[in-house]
């Protein structure tokens, strides 16, 4: 038995911790929790922690649901919450919940979904935290979650309430807990609060520390209970630690709401069930497979492995698991030894004796069926090898099972096994008083073979018996037996026994006297007693012979008839009656009883002294029932052949008479006994029959049980299927509702026709289009008046049935609305065509909208077409969608040259303009519009054009990028006019200033030359007028150039052109500068002629002739000024300003030369001017470039 001493929290907890009630449930748990909380007063002072199997993927509504059933606050647990009174805590989904230090701890579950046992986890943590104060409740649920946890709770001294399986919706969890013997109460959920309230007030729960652990005054007042258990239940707890016993007894008292020990003793007397429950509680066991794996490893390494190596193949190996509880440890040992044998390649005759005093535990152990959780420590490999998986549980395989022999055995009372290789006795002795512990150790020593190993629990040791054992592993409590077997140190507690346990199903119990070997002392004693002691018989109180010593034949003889052990019946004549009376006396006395009797043997008579002495079987005074008597016979004198005379005949005759009577009475008795025995035989036979019938009934019952289980599982499956179906039905109902709502609620007029075009269903809206009544379902669709102009409806429906292709048509109703009528085949889920579906979609508005769109498009196109400004519509990829006539005209492109082309490709790349690229690819994508973007570009054949661009990006249309409107304004003319203006202004300034400078120069020189003020005035005015005239001409000609003839005519007109002045030459246009210079030259020459030359007199004549001539540097303009018939010319002594001016004008302004010939007949002046520098088509605008 892995009895576990509960850990005690020594620190006094103040203030007193909140009592915590843990509730575990699964399927059907919400209902049970609701019932529980309905009945629970809100001010109980307790805290409630509820754990359910929740769907980890869904948010839990549990808190909400429970809060409707109790006035206490219901909280969904968050990690680290402190537990407070009068509150209900419910687990969150997908979490593992534990209680630690008065707080609730949530953690991620370690095991995969489906293997989680949250209830076990919670219960175990609560048990560790609260020990005796832990209260756990198992409610409705399937499986066995919670059972293990309850075991821990009970092991710690806590209390377990289980819902009555009859009221639980699912009884798996409650039944599992009850079957494991763990339920303190089995109640309806609504009855639990009352019990809890009672418990919470009991001293055991409010102040367990005051009871427990007081070793100084152990178990005050519990002795009567121990005695009672020994006598009633045959369970001897005298050797157990009083503290532990007291705690557990008080726990039972708590459960029964009893405060006084005396009261409880009364209850135990009155209710045997309670006594049994107490006995079970006192030996609550906590065990497990491979518990403390490291300890087992030590055992394997130090003991099992060497054993397997040393022992011969096929040799016996014997082990004993003392206190095996529910068998886990025994099976663990069997598994480990089997593995070691395999490793060594041997097969041993392995026998493991597993004993426990608890018959219930042994029952579980023999069955060998364990929940999956219990096997976790073993690992998959061992599970696979040694176990067979049942439904949710594992069964020990036959091979392993047969290695272990389970037997009831009390270590403190029953004799041990012997010649064992290994004894394990873990966590059993910690419950025992020190004296009992020592005796146990000695017993183990006796039981082991030489060198055998002892395996104890981690808190146990061999105590003072170091001479008996040496440690193999101090830490893990593995010991080896030292020395030879020592009988002297053990005393079998056989004689203290009040009940002989049935023989184990293992080896026969040892016959103790024979097991002993004779010691010298025994030998001496035996010899002496045989030689000198009187013949004696050891009898029990009833006078039945137990042991014959010496020659008793003189005093006793086997009686006739049935063999008997009755010593009085064996007595020879004359002794029997007195012996019987003396035995009766001796049984009640403490002193020996002595009497003398005369034995009659044939004719002789012998005196005999009979002494009956009480014998104490043990060192202590035995109870009366256990006392034995030693009857000794001593011959008082030699046998007498004759009866002494002193013997009165009468007395002898009386004796005979009495004995005769006795004999006949006995004979009668014998007959009666025989009759009784035959009746007994008959009864036995009847019993046999009953037994066999019983067996049959049992097997029938088992069959029924099996059938019931099958039915149960069948039922569960049906239950599952039913709920699935219900769910499906609900889903279908919802889908139907959805569809109904969808079809009825939509504006869609829908008709279902079958193959024969009869109506199977129509939506309410259909009645706007067809004259339908609900009762018309099933009638042919053609038989109804239509409110829609659709003569092709049935024809199209027929076509759809034939072709299976949907057909659309736009139809108009009588009230002027438009509908899209669509006919589709009606396909069933298996793709069969069951008719057609006709829908009428109202498209009146859509149609109107489409018309509006059309109008808008025409409108927009008209605007574009009307615009005088060139306009391009580009699509998102910058291809021309359309170009207006103005564009085509302005850039001389035909529609086929533009449509669909990339804008940069237009006019063979003429539009591939970097600025345009920048505009369209870079700027426009970021701005939706752009105004007055100026670009200048030299177009092939059209010269430099200045363009002003306006661009708009239209909003996106679905996936396609929006269109771009590109308006192009050719502002070349405007730009050029602007440029010209600027040039002219500049030129004007230049000219004005230059003219002023010229005037300055003229004034200066005229002043220099003038002989008088009048003279100055005349020459200055003349020159100024000439200059002015020249400018007039220039302005008249638009500042482009002037004809030389015209210039000469104007300049010389005052001197009589055509009369005294002759002009002759081809038309030649002089550049403006050249024109001015020419006017000034002609003016100077004319002034000179009027003053001194041909025009000064009345006769003279001037000829001006010009022509184009070849010169040395290219073409030249030659102009000859020839004066004739004037006064005689003399070369002036001083060169005049006029001459200088003419020469300088010719050279400076006209880049040519002037030669003046003072011919006496008339002055001649010849100008030779380069043609190209002076003659041109017009003004050259390119100033300063």
């Amino acid at each position: 038995v892995l009895h576990e001493e509960p850990r005690r929290d020594e620190t006094a907890q103040a203030p007193r911790p909140v009592p915590v009630v843990a509730l575990g449930a699964s399927a059907g748990g919400i209902e049970a929790l609701g019932q529980f909380f309905d009945a629970m007063p809100p001010d109980s002072g307790m805290a409630f922690v509820a754990v359910l199997h929740l769907d980890p993927t869904h948010e839990s509504q549990l808190a909400h649901i429970l809060s409707q059933r109790t006035a206490m606050p219901v909280l969904e647990i968050e990690d680290g919450m402190e537990i407070e009174r009068n509150r209900v805590y419910v687990i969150a989904p997908n979490a593992s919940l534990e209680v630690r230090d008065g707080h609730l701890r949530l953690s991620e579950p370690q095991v995969p979904r489906g293997q989680r046992r949250p209830v076990d986890v919670l219960f175990a943590s609560l048990a560790e935290e609260r020990q005796e104060r832990a209260i756990a409740i198992v409610l409705s649920g399937t499986g066995n979650n919670g059972t293990h946890g309850l075991k821990v709770v009970k092991g710690a001294g806590g209390c377990a309430l289980v819902q009555d399986p009859r009221t639980a919706r699912f009884d798996g969890m409650p039944r599992s807990a009850i079957d494991a013997g763990l339920a303190d109460y089995v109640l309806d959920a609504c009855a639990m609060p009352e019990v809890l309230m009672r418990l919470s007030r009991h001293g055991y729960f409010t102040d367990p520390d005051s009871i427990a652990g007081d070793e100084a005054a152990p178990g005050t007042g519990i002795e009567p209970i121990i005695t009672l258990l020994r006598t009633r239940e045959g369970r001897d707890f005298r050797q157990y630690k009083r503290g532990t016993l007291a705690r557990r007894i008080h726990r039972r008292m708590g459960l029964k709401s009893i405060d006084a020990i005396e009261e409880y003793v009364e209850l135990l007397r009155a209710e045997p069930v309670e006594a049994a429950a107490l006995a079970r509680d006192l030996t609550i066991t906590v065990t497990g497979f491979l518990r403390d794996p490291e300890a087992w490893e030590a055992l394997v390494a130090r003991v099992l492995a060497p054993l397997a190596a040393e022992r011969d193949d096929g040799a016996p190996v014997r082990m004993w698991v003392a206190g095996c509880a529910t068998g886990e440890e025994a099976y663990t040992l069997a598994m480990l030894m089997t593995e070691q044998a395999d490793t060594a390649g041997k097969a041993f005759d392995l026998k493991i004796f597993a004993t426990d005093s608890q018959a219930e535990s042994l029952g579980i152990a023999r069955e060998g069926v364990y929940p999956e959780a219990a096997l976790e420590a073993l690992g998959a490999e061992r599970r696979q090898r040694f176990f067979t998986k049942l439904d949710g549980t594992y069964e020990v395989q036959k091979a392993l099972r047969e290695l272990v022999v389970f037997a009831p055995h009390d270590l403190l009372r029953d004799p041990p096994f012997s010649r064992l290789d290994v004894v394990t006795c873990r966590n059993l002795m910690i419950y025992l008083q020190p004296e009992a512990q020592k005796r146990s150790i000695r017993l183990m020593h006796f039981a082991l073979r030489e060198g055998g190993a002892l395996f104890l629990g981690s808190a146990e040791s061999v105590g003072h018996h170091e001479e008996l054992f040496e440690p193999l592993s101090t830490k893990w409590r593995v010991f080896r037996r030292l020395g030879p077997t020592r009988h002297d140190i053990i005393d079998f507690p056989v004689l203290g026994s009040t009940r002989r346990p049935p023989a184990p199903d293992g080896p026969a119990r040892h016959d103790l006297p024979q097991a002993r070997q004779a010691t010298p002392a025994d030998l001496v004693r035996r010899t002496l007693s045989e030689r000198f002691a009187p013949a004696s018989v050891l009898v029990d109180r009833q006078g039945r012979a137990i042991y014959f010593h010496g020659a008793t034949g003189d005093f006793l003889e086997p009686p006739r008839g049935e063999p008997t052990r009755d010593v009085a019946a064996m007595a020879r004549d004359g002794l029997g009656a007195r012996l019987r009376g003396a035995l009766r006396r001796a049984a009640g006395a403490t002193e020996p009883v002595t009497f003398t009797a005369r034995i009659r043997q044939g004719a002789s008579r012998r005196e005999v002294l009979v002494t009956i002495a009480p014998v104490e079987p043990g060192p202590k005074p035995a109870r009366d029932a256990d006392r034995l008597l030693l009857v000794s016979f001593q011959p008082a004198a030699a046998p007498q052949a004759d009866m002494p005379a002193s013997e009165p005949e009468a007395a002898i005759a009386d004796d005979r008479l009495m004995e005769e009577e006795l004999r006949s009475t006995r004979a009668e008795l014998r007959i009666t006994i025989e009759q009784m025995e035959s009746a007994n035989e008959e009864l036995k036979a009847a019993n046999e029959e009953v037994t066999s019938m019983n067996e049959e009934l049992q097997s029938t019952n088992e069959e029924l049980e099996t059938s019931k289980e099958e039915l149960q599982s069948f039922n569960e499956e049906l239950h599952t299927i039913n709920s699935q179906l219900q769910y499906k039905v609900r889903e279908l109902q919802e889908t139907t509702d959805d569809l109904d709502n969808l079809l009825s609620g939509s504006d869609l007029a829908t008709l279902f026709l079958d193959i024969d075009l009869c109506i199977t269903w129509f939506s309410p809206k259909s009645r706007d289009l067809l004259d339908l009544l609900p009762s018309d379902v099933g009638r042919p669709a053609g038989s109804f008046a239509r409110k829609v102009d659709d003569p092709e409806l049935l024809v199209d429906a027929g076509k759809v049935l034939n072709t299976l292709a949907p057909r659309d048509a736009e139809v108009r109703s009588q009230d002027g609305r438009w509908f899209l009528r669509r006919i589709q085949p009606y396909r069933t889920h298996d793709s069969r065509i069951a008719g057609v579906v006709i829908t009428f979609t109202d498209i009146t508005e859509r149609k109107a909208a489409a018309d509006a769109v059309d109008e808008a498009r025409v409108f927009a196109e008209s605007i574009i077409g009307t615009l005088r400004q060139p306009l391009l519509v580009l699509d998102g990829e910058l291809r021309v969608e359309s170009a207006n006539p103005a564009f085509e005209e302005a850039f001389n492109l035909r529609p086929e040259d533009t449509l669909g082309r990339l804008v940069f490709d237009l006019d063979t790349g003429a539009w591939d303009i970097p600025e345009l690229r920048q505009l369209l690819l870079d700027i426009l994508p970021r701005n939706s519009e752009l105004n007055a973007f100026a670009i200048s570009h030299r177009f092939e054949g059209r010269g430099l054009r200045h363009l002003l661009l306006n661009a708009r990006r239209l909003p996106r249309r679905g996936e396609r990028p929006g269109q771009i409107l590109l308006a192009i304004e050719d502002i070349t003319d405007r730009v050029e006019a602007q440029d010209l203006r600027e040039v002219l202004i500049h030129e004007l300034s230049h000219r004005v200033k230059n003219t002023l400078a010229t005037v300055q120069a003229i004034a200066s020189h005229s002043a220099h030359q003038a002989r008088s003020l009048d003279d100055f005035q005349a020459s200055f005015n003349g020159r100024l007028q000439a200059l002015s005239r020249a400018h007039d001409l220039l302005v008249e000609a638009g500042w482009t150039g002037s004809d030389i003839g015209e210039l000469a005519h104007r300049t010389l007109d005052a001197y009589g052109v055509g009369e005294r002045v002759t002009l002759d030459g081809p038309p030649v246009t002089l550049r403006p500068q050249a024109g001015v210079a020419m006017v000034m030259i002609l003016h100077e020459l004319a002034t000179n002629a009027a003053k001194y030359g041909a025009l000064s007199g009345a006769e003279g004549h001037v000829s001006v002739m010009w022509r184009r001539a070849e010169g040395p540097g290219g073409e030249q303009l030659h102009l000859d000024w020839t004066e004739t018939a004037g006064p005689r010319v003399e070369k002036p002594s001083r060169r005049g300003f006029g001459t200088l001016l003419v020469e300088r004008l010719a050279s400076n302004d006209l880049h040519g030369e002037a030669s003046i010939d003072y011919d006496p007949t008339g002055l001649r002046c010849t100008l030779k001017l380069p043609w190209s520098a002076n003659i041109g088509p017009g003004p050259n605008n390119e100033v300063e470039t």
């Binding site: 002023l996 200066s1004 020189h1005 000034m1080 300063e1184």
Partner: protein
């Protein structure tokens, strides 16, 4: 003549002017300042030829020679490190080259004093 005007005895000056009247007048003014007019050019080519021929200390340039800019001449003068004065009737234009913008100007019509000051200034800048 203005008595206040500074004279530059022996300063050899190139006159670049396309209008004969003005050229004559300027020559007179320069002579009045004791300068020696080395040549008068009316075209860019002629002026460049004069510059290359050397023998000048300073130049008086009309900005606009029959519509052609005098810039090449100014550049040639700058290359030779010779000072020059721009005589112009046009207002400054920001679009003009820096060389012309920075040059000493005298606005037509100008007086002897302002011509003298401009020449003095141009020479001192050297």
């Amino acid at each position: 003549l203005n008595a206040e005007a500074q004279s530059f005895p022996g300063l050899r000056v190139l006159v670049v002017e396309d209008e004969a009247f003005i050229a004559l007048h300027v020559e007179d003014m320069l002579r009045a300042l004791s300068c020696e007019v080395i040549a008068t050019a009316s075209t860019v080519d002629a002026a460049l030829a004069c510059v290359r021929n050397g023998g000048i200390d300073c130049a008086l340039l009309d900005l606009n020679l029959h519509g052609a800019s005098v810039l090449p001449v100014a550049e040639a003068l700058a290359d030779f490190g010779l000072p020059f004065v721009l005589a112009t009737g046009s207002p400054r234009r920001e679009s003009d080259p820096a060389l012309l913008l920075d040059a000493r100007r005298v606005n037509k019509p100008f007086s002897l004093a302002s011509l003298s000051a401009a020449i003095g200034d141009a020479l001192s800048r050297k």
